[in-house]
Symmetry: C2
Subunit: 171 residues, 2 copies
Protein backbone atom coordinates (compact mmCIF):
# COMPACT_ATOMS: atom_id res chain seq x y z
CA UNK A 1 0.00 0.00 0.00
CA UNK A 2 1.06 3.56 -0.60
CA UNK A 3 1.46 5.65 2.54
CA UNK A 4 2.27 9.30 3.13
CA UNK A 5 2.88 11.50 6.17
CA UNK A 6 1.26 14.92 6.50
CA UNK A 7 0.37 17.67 8.96
CA UNK A 8 -3.12 19.11 8.65
CA UNK A 9 -3.32 22.79 9.63
CA UNK A 10 -6.26 24.24 11.58
CA UNK A 11 -9.77 24.08 10.16
CA UNK A 12 -9.51 27.83 9.51
CA UNK A 13 -6.42 27.46 7.33
CA UNK A 14 -7.84 24.36 5.59
CA UNK A 15 -11.05 26.26 4.81
CA UNK A 16 -9.03 29.16 3.39
CA UNK A 17 -6.92 26.84 1.21
CA UNK A 18 -10.06 25.09 -0.02
CA UNK A 19 -11.57 28.33 -1.33
CA UNK A 20 -8.77 28.18 -3.94
CA UNK A 21 -8.33 24.42 -4.20
CA UNK A 22 -11.93 23.78 -5.21
CA UNK A 23 -11.32 25.86 -8.31
CA UNK A 24 -7.67 25.26 -9.11
CA UNK A 25 -6.43 22.00 -7.55
CA UNK A 26 -6.99 18.68 -9.33
CA UNK A 27 -6.38 16.87 -6.00
CA UNK A 28 -9.03 18.90 -4.20
CA UNK A 29 -11.36 15.94 -3.66
CA UNK A 30 -8.63 13.42 -2.84
CA UNK A 31 -7.37 14.82 0.46
CA UNK A 32 -8.02 17.88 2.64
CA UNK A 33 -5.39 20.70 2.69
CA UNK A 34 -2.12 19.62 4.26
CA UNK A 35 1.64 20.06 4.58
CA UNK A 36 3.40 16.99 3.16
CA UNK A 37 6.15 15.76 5.48
CA UNK A 38 6.94 12.59 3.56
CA UNK A 39 5.65 11.94 0.06
CA UNK A 40 3.97 8.70 -0.96
CA UNK A 41 6.01 5.54 -0.34
CA UNK A 42 5.16 1.87 -0.81
CA UNK A 43 4.94 -0.31 2.30
CA UNK A 44 4.29 -4.05 2.55
CA UNK A 45 1.52 -4.97 4.98
CA UNK A 46 4.12 -6.75 7.10
CA UNK A 47 6.20 -3.59 7.59
CA UNK A 48 3.40 -1.24 8.65
CA UNK A 49 3.75 -2.09 12.32
CA UNK A 50 7.44 -1.16 12.39
CA UNK A 51 6.69 2.15 10.71
CA UNK A 52 3.86 3.03 13.09
CA UNK A 53 6.13 2.29 16.05
CA UNK A 54 8.83 4.54 14.62
CA UNK A 55 6.31 7.31 14.05
CA UNK A 56 5.01 7.05 17.61
CA UNK A 57 8.58 7.38 18.90
CA UNK A 58 9.37 10.33 16.64
CA UNK A 59 6.14 12.16 17.55
CA UNK A 60 6.94 11.87 21.25
CA UNK A 61 10.23 13.71 20.70
CA UNK A 62 8.92 16.66 18.71
CA UNK A 63 6.92 19.61 19.99
CA UNK A 64 3.77 20.96 18.29
CA UNK A 65 4.71 22.77 15.07
CA UNK A 66 4.44 26.54 14.99
CA UNK A 67 3.79 27.42 11.39
CA UNK A 68 3.41 30.67 9.49
CA UNK A 69 1.72 30.67 6.08
CA UNK A 70 3.36 33.86 4.94
CA UNK A 71 2.70 34.30 1.22
CA UNK A 72 1.45 32.74 -1.98
CA UNK A 73 4.30 31.26 -4.00
CA UNK A 74 4.83 28.95 -6.99
CA UNK A 75 7.10 26.10 -8.05
CA UNK A 76 7.07 27.43 -11.62
CA UNK A 77 8.96 26.70 -13.88
CA UNK A 78 9.55 23.26 -12.29
CA UNK A 79 5.83 22.60 -12.05
CA UNK A 80 2.73 24.76 -12.28
CA UNK A 81 1.99 24.34 -8.58
CA UNK A 82 0.85 27.35 -6.56
CA UNK A 83 0.99 27.13 -2.77
CA UNK A 84 0.84 28.85 0.59
CA UNK A 85 4.50 29.13 1.56
CA UNK A 86 5.13 27.91 5.11
CA UNK A 87 8.12 29.73 6.54
CA UNK A 88 10.94 27.20 6.96
CA UNK A 89 11.88 26.58 10.59
CA UNK A 90 14.44 24.38 12.25
CA UNK A 91 11.56 22.55 13.92
CA UNK A 92 9.95 21.63 10.57
CA UNK A 93 13.20 20.57 8.93
CA UNK A 94 14.24 18.52 11.96
CA UNK A 95 10.96 16.64 11.85
CA UNK A 96 11.20 16.18 8.08
CA UNK A 97 14.78 14.94 8.30
CA UNK A 98 14.06 12.52 11.11
CA UNK A 99 11.04 11.06 9.29
CA UNK A 100 13.21 10.41 6.23
CA UNK A 101 16.12 9.03 8.24
CA UNK A 102 13.98 6.68 10.34
CA UNK A 103 11.56 5.62 7.62
CA UNK A 104 14.17 4.99 5.00
CA UNK A 105 11.78 4.19 2.14
CA UNK A 106 11.88 6.44 -0.90
CA UNK A 107 14.27 9.36 -0.91
CA UNK A 108 12.88 12.92 -0.76
CA UNK A 109 12.02 13.75 -4.36
CA UNK A 110 12.58 17.46 -3.82
CA UNK A 111 14.36 19.78 -1.44
CA UNK A 112 11.96 20.25 1.51
CA UNK A 113 9.94 23.40 0.88
CA UNK A 114 7.11 23.31 3.43
CA UNK A 115 3.89 24.36 1.75
CA UNK A 116 0.14 23.89 1.35
CA UNK A 117 -0.76 23.35 -2.30
CA UNK A 118 -3.68 25.46 -3.55
CA UNK A 119 -3.40 24.94 -7.33
CA UNK A 120 -1.97 22.20 -9.57
CA UNK A 121 -2.46 20.58 -12.98
CA UNK A 122 -3.21 23.94 -14.54
CA UNK A 123 -1.94 25.23 -17.89
CA UNK A 124 0.93 27.72 -18.12
CA UNK A 125 -1.51 30.47 -19.07
CA UNK A 126 -3.81 29.63 -16.15
CA UNK A 127 -0.82 29.52 -13.86
CA UNK A 128 0.28 33.03 -14.78
CA UNK A 129 -3.24 34.33 -14.44
CA UNK A 130 -4.06 32.67 -11.11
CA UNK A 131 -0.64 33.24 -9.58
CA UNK A 132 -0.81 36.92 -10.49
CA UNK A 133 -4.13 37.24 -8.70
CA UNK A 134 -3.41 35.12 -5.63
CA UNK A 135 0.02 36.63 -5.03
CA UNK A 136 -1.71 40.00 -4.66
CA UNK A 137 -4.30 38.62 -2.22
CA UNK A 138 -1.56 36.81 -0.31
CA UNK A 139 -1.91 34.92 2.96
CA UNK A 140 -0.76 35.61 6.50
CA UNK A 141 -1.86 32.95 8.97
CA UNK A 142 -0.09 31.57 12.02
CA UNK A 143 -1.05 28.22 13.42
CA UNK A 144 0.05 25.48 15.79
CA UNK A 145 -0.20 21.86 14.62
CA UNK A 146 -0.06 19.38 17.47
CA UNK A 147 -0.21 16.09 15.55
CA UNK A 148 0.88 14.35 12.35
CA UNK A 149 -1.06 11.84 10.24
CA UNK A 150 -0.05 8.64 8.51
CA UNK A 151 -2.32 8.26 5.45
CA UNK A 152 -2.79 5.51 2.87
CA UNK A 153 -4.01 5.89 -0.67
CA UNK A 154 -7.00 4.11 -2.20
CA UNK A 155 -7.13 2.99 -5.83
CA UNK A 156 -9.05 6.11 -6.87
CA UNK A 157 -6.27 8.36 -5.54
CA UNK A 158 -8.05 9.46 -2.35
CA UNK A 159 -6.36 9.20 1.06
CA UNK A 160 -7.64 7.68 4.30
CA UNK A 161 -5.97 8.31 7.66
CA UNK A 162 -4.30 5.21 9.08
CA UNK A 163 -3.19 6.72 12.35
CA UNK A 164 -2.58 10.01 14.12
CA UNK A 165 0.41 10.82 16.31
CA UNK A 166 0.42 13.69 18.80
CA UNK A 167 3.55 15.81 18.94
CA UNK A 168 4.22 15.80 22.64
CA UNK A 169 7.98 16.39 22.87
CA UNK A 170 10.19 19.37 23.63
CA UNK A 171 12.25 19.71 20.44
Amino acid sequence: MKFGIVAFPSKKLQDLANTYRKRYDSHYSKVTPHITLKEGFEVNEADIKVITEKLATIAKKHAPLNIHASRVSSFFPNTNVIYFKIEPTEQLSNLHNELHAEINIGKPRHVFVPHITIAQDISAAEHDDIFGQLRMVGVNEKDTIDRIHLLYQLEDGSWTTYETYKLTGDE
Copy 2:
Protein backbone atom coordinates in the same frame (compact mmCIF):
# COMPACT_ATOMS: atom_id res chain seq x y z
CA MET B 1 -16.92 22.46 14.93
CA LYS B 2 -18.86 19.48 13.65
CA PHE B 3 -17.39 16.12 14.56
CA GLY B 4 -18.34 12.55 13.67
CA ILE B 5 -17.09 9.08 14.63
CA VAL B 6 -16.53 6.39 12.01
CA ALA B 7 -14.82 3.07 11.35
CA PHE B 8 -12.99 2.77 8.03
CA PRO B 9 -12.97 -0.79 6.66
CA SER B 10 -9.93 -2.29 4.89
CA LYS B 11 -8.53 -0.70 1.75
CA LYS B 12 -10.00 -3.61 -0.22
CA LEU B 13 -13.52 -2.93 1.00
CA GLN B 14 -13.10 0.84 0.59
CA ASP B 15 -11.92 0.32 -3.00
CA LEU B 16 -14.92 -1.89 -3.70
CA ALA B 17 -17.35 0.65 -2.25
CA ASN B 18 -15.71 3.43 -4.26
CA THR B 19 -16.34 1.66 -7.56
CA TYR B 20 -20.03 2.41 -6.88
CA ARG B 21 -19.68 5.62 -4.89
CA LYS B 22 -17.82 7.47 -7.64
CA ARG B 23 -20.87 7.07 -9.85
CA TYR B 24 -23.77 7.13 -7.40
CA ASP B 25 -22.78 8.85 -4.14
CA SER B 26 -22.92 12.65 -3.86
CA HIS B 27 -20.59 12.45 -0.83
CA TYR B 28 -17.98 10.45 -2.73
CA SER B 29 -15.37 13.23 -2.67
CA LYS B 30 -16.07 14.36 0.91
CA VAL B 31 -14.92 11.30 2.83
CA THR B 32 -13.63 7.81 2.04
CA PRO B 33 -15.98 4.80 2.55
CA HIS B 34 -16.86 4.24 6.21
CA ILE B 35 -19.27 2.86 8.79
CA THR B 36 -20.77 5.75 10.77
CA LEU B 37 -20.73 5.06 14.51
CA LYS B 38 -21.90 8.51 15.60
CA GLU B 39 -23.36 11.03 13.17
CA GLY B 40 -22.21 14.65 13.01
CA PHE B 41 -22.46 16.56 16.32
CA GLU B 42 -21.39 20.09 17.23
CA VAL B 43 -18.58 20.49 19.76
CA ASN B 44 -17.13 23.70 21.23
CA GLU B 45 -13.35 23.91 20.99
CA ALA B 46 -13.24 23.82 24.80
CA ASP B 47 -14.99 20.44 25.00
CA ILE B 48 -12.87 18.57 22.44
CA LYS B 49 -10.34 17.44 25.01
CA VAL B 50 -13.00 15.78 27.19
CA ILE B 51 -14.41 13.95 24.18
CA THR B 52 -11.01 12.70 23.01
CA GLU B 53 -10.30 11.39 26.51
CA LYS B 54 -13.63 9.56 26.59
CA LEU B 55 -12.94 8.07 23.17
CA ALA B 56 -9.50 6.86 24.26
CA THR B 57 -11.09 5.16 27.28
CA ILE B 58 -13.87 3.57 25.22
CA ALA B 59 -11.44 2.29 22.57
CA LYS B 60 -9.32 0.59 25.22
CA LYS B 61 -12.34 -1.45 26.33
CA HIS B 62 -13.51 -2.69 22.94
CA ALA B 63 -11.92 -5.36 20.79
CA PRO B 64 -11.28 -4.99 17.03
CA LEU B 65 -14.58 -5.18 15.13
CA ASN B 66 -15.29 -8.28 13.10
CA ILE B 67 -17.57 -7.14 10.32
CA HIS B 68 -19.37 -8.88 7.49
CA ALA B 69 -20.63 -6.86 4.53
CA SER B 70 -23.24 -9.39 3.53
CA ARG B 71 -25.51 -7.82 0.92
CA VAL B 72 -26.56 -4.67 -0.89
CA SER B 73 -29.58 -3.09 0.77
CA SER B 74 -31.53 0.20 0.70
CA PHE B 75 -33.19 2.61 3.12
CA PHE B 76 -35.98 3.22 0.59
CA PRO B 77 -38.67 4.50 1.11
CA ASN B 78 -37.19 6.51 4.01
CA THR B 79 -34.36 7.79 1.83
CA ASN B 80 -32.91 6.74 -1.51
CA VAL B 81 -29.72 5.49 0.11
CA ILE B 82 -28.19 2.22 -1.09
CA TYR B 83 -25.57 0.55 1.09
CA PHE B 84 -23.49 -2.49 1.91
CA LYS B 85 -25.33 -4.00 4.84
CA ILE B 86 -23.00 -4.83 7.73
CA GLU B 87 -24.43 -7.73 9.72
CA PRO B 88 -25.49 -6.42 13.14
CA THR B 89 -23.42 -7.83 16.00
CA GLU B 90 -23.50 -7.33 19.72
CA GLN B 91 -19.98 -5.96 19.44
CA LEU B 92 -21.04 -3.22 17.02
CA SER B 93 -24.14 -2.24 18.94
CA ASN B 94 -22.27 -2.21 22.26
CA LEU B 95 -19.71 0.18 20.81
CA HIS B 96 -22.42 2.34 19.21
CA ASN B 97 -24.39 2.48 22.45
CA GLU B 98 -21.41 3.34 24.58
CA LEU B 99 -20.33 6.12 22.22
CA HIS B 100 -23.80 7.67 22.44
CA ALA B 101 -24.04 7.23 26.21
CA GLU B 102 -20.59 8.68 26.93
CA ILE B 103 -20.64 11.43 24.33
CA ASN B 104 -24.11 12.65 25.09
CA ILE B 105 -24.32 15.24 22.31
CA GLY B 106 -27.01 14.77 19.68
CA LYS B 107 -29.32 11.78 19.96
CA PRO B 108 -29.05 9.00 17.36
CA ARG B 109 -31.17 10.23 14.45
CA HIS B 110 -31.99 6.69 13.35
CA VAL B 111 -32.04 3.19 14.72
CA PHE B 112 -28.45 1.89 14.35
CA VAL B 113 -28.22 -0.04 11.10
CA PRO B 114 -24.50 -0.55 10.49
CA HIS B 115 -23.74 0.09 6.83
CA ILE B 116 -21.38 1.50 4.22
CA THR B 117 -23.21 3.92 1.92
CA ILE B 118 -22.58 3.38 -1.79
CA ALA B 119 -25.33 5.58 -3.33
CA GLN B 120 -27.25 8.66 -2.16
CA ASP B 121 -28.97 11.79 -3.50
CA ILE B 122 -30.31 9.86 -6.47
CA SER B 123 -33.82 10.09 -7.94
CA ALA B 124 -36.48 7.46 -7.25
CA ALA B 125 -36.10 6.13 -10.79
CA GLU B 126 -32.30 5.96 -10.49
CA HIS B 127 -32.67 4.27 -7.12
CA ASP B 128 -34.85 1.50 -8.54
CA ASP B 129 -32.52 1.02 -11.46
CA ILE B 130 -29.27 1.00 -9.50
CA PHE B 131 -30.62 -0.99 -6.57
CA GLY B 132 -31.96 -3.62 -8.94
CA GLN B 133 -28.51 -4.02 -10.49
CA LEU B 134 -26.38 -3.85 -7.35
CA ARG B 135 -28.61 -6.18 -5.36
CA MET B 136 -27.92 -8.82 -7.99
CA VAL B 137 -24.15 -8.27 -7.88
CA GLY B 138 -24.25 -8.28 -4.08
CA VAL B 139 -21.31 -8.16 -1.71
CA ASN B 140 -19.74 -10.70 0.61
CA GLU B 141 -16.69 -9.39 2.43
CA LYS B 142 -15.44 -10.08 5.92
CA ASP B 143 -13.06 -7.71 7.60
CA THR B 144 -11.52 -6.77 10.93
CA ILE B 145 -11.38 -3.10 11.88
CA ASP B 146 -8.91 -2.40 14.67
CA ARG B 147 -9.44 1.36 15.14
CA ILE B 148 -12.03 4.12 15.08
CA HIS B 149 -11.65 7.70 13.82
CA LEU B 150 -12.84 11.03 15.17
CA LEU B 151 -13.38 13.32 12.15
CA TYR B 152 -14.25 17.00 11.80
CA GLN B 153 -15.99 18.67 8.90
CA LEU B 154 -14.66 21.57 6.84
CA GLU B 155 -16.87 24.31 5.41
CA ASP B 156 -16.99 22.59 2.01
CA GLY B 157 -18.44 19.42 3.58
CA SER B 158 -15.26 17.34 3.46
CA TRP B 159 -13.94 15.55 6.56
CA THR B 160 -10.45 15.56 8.09
CA THR B 161 -9.36 13.03 10.72
CA TYR B 162 -8.80 14.61 14.13
CA GLU B 163 -7.59 11.50 15.90
CA THR B 164 -7.48 7.71 15.65
CA TYR B 165 -8.15 5.31 18.53
CA LYS B 166 -7.04 1.68 18.45
CA LEU B 167 -9.53 -0.88 19.71
CA THR B 168 -7.37 -2.82 22.13
CA GLY B 169 -9.92 -4.24 24.59
CA ASP B 170 -11.52 -7.63 25.10
CA GLU B 171 -15.24 -6.85 24.70
